[in-house]
Symmetry: C2
Subunit: 147 residues, 2 copies
DNA sequence: ATAAACCGTGTACTATAGTACACGGTCAAG
DNA sequence: CTTGACCGTGTACTATAGTACACGGTTTAT
């Protein structure tokens, strides 16, 4: 029993599935970025249509969302790859997961504390901008430079 | 009245001052990174000895410390350059400082919230590592992938 | 006085994270 | 049955943030 690609795309025998361009749009990234993530194994080999076109699912959209969010928080693609070992149930990547996660937890804690200080600095900086617009003298950063 | 470089370095007529290598060591960065920051105007033209050697002060050490800390928190060198406009009392860089700082403040706030969620995720992930060591199934990241 | 240890300049190279593009195949509409 | 909008592969290019190195001058210890 065969279905045309169009039929599958429209009625989702195989669930709802996207071609690379639509998928990239949904993920709000460049099409090439998707291929790049595939090369880096952040996305597993996608299934393909008969003619070799990649197809993606809603789950893949979530996965890219996870990658992007982690990345914005300073995780490198390699670190994200490592974490995804859990999702992919990959024993190799899971081997020293406890150490890895513990280390990252410490880093994240420290980062939160540092960011709170930066937030205070930025607030102060804003307050001192005369008539809420400009300033040439602001000793707050200098305070942060000390320490 | 002239002093030898050695005399100045030892007895600090001009305050305590460092040559590039010692300075880089104190800052815990590569010597080339210092020159790179100079090229990118993150460090102002340093004063020089008669023979053209760069000399740095304790304040410069603090400045590099500031750069490094901001960088670790996800600020780009360009953004740090902008912020340093305040310290350098540079009117051009200070022009839209209020908008810039406001935008960064929002970003930092969001980042703190996101990091807290990541922290929870990492904590959960750790807890679920059987006998505090390994695991192949961890539904927490999956939870984060959703949302 | 001479070698070791610095320094300056300039240029090239590296890693990370993409982005662009050329060339050729596929497919659906007119 | 051809045109336009896709797609795949491969390769090259970009920005950011460094890092390394060669060549030649300086300083300092021996």
């Amino acid at each position: 029993m065969y279905y045309s690609t169009r039929f599958i795309l429209l009625y989702g025998v195989n669930n709802l599935s996207y071609r690379i361009s639509e998928f990239a749009d949904k993920c709000r990234v460049n099409k090439e970025t998707i291929r790049y993530y595939e090369r880096k194994n952040l996305l597993q080999e996608p299934s393909r249509t008969n003619s070799g076109y990649r197809t993606y699912s809603e789950d893949d959209v979530k996965r890219v969302g996870f990658i992007k969010r982690m990345q914005e928080l300073g995780f490198s693609l390699n670190e994200i790859y490592k974490l995804l070992g859990v999702v992919d149930k990959d024993e190799i990547r899971c081997q020293d997961m406890f150490e890895f996660v513990s280390k990252k937890e410490e880093e994240v804690k420290k980062q939160i504390e540092d960011l709170k200080r930066i937030e205070r600095m930025l607030k102060d900086l804003k307050k001192r901008c005369p008539d809420e617009k400009e300033l040439h003298e602001c000793p707050i950063i200098e305070a942060l430079i000390e320490d």
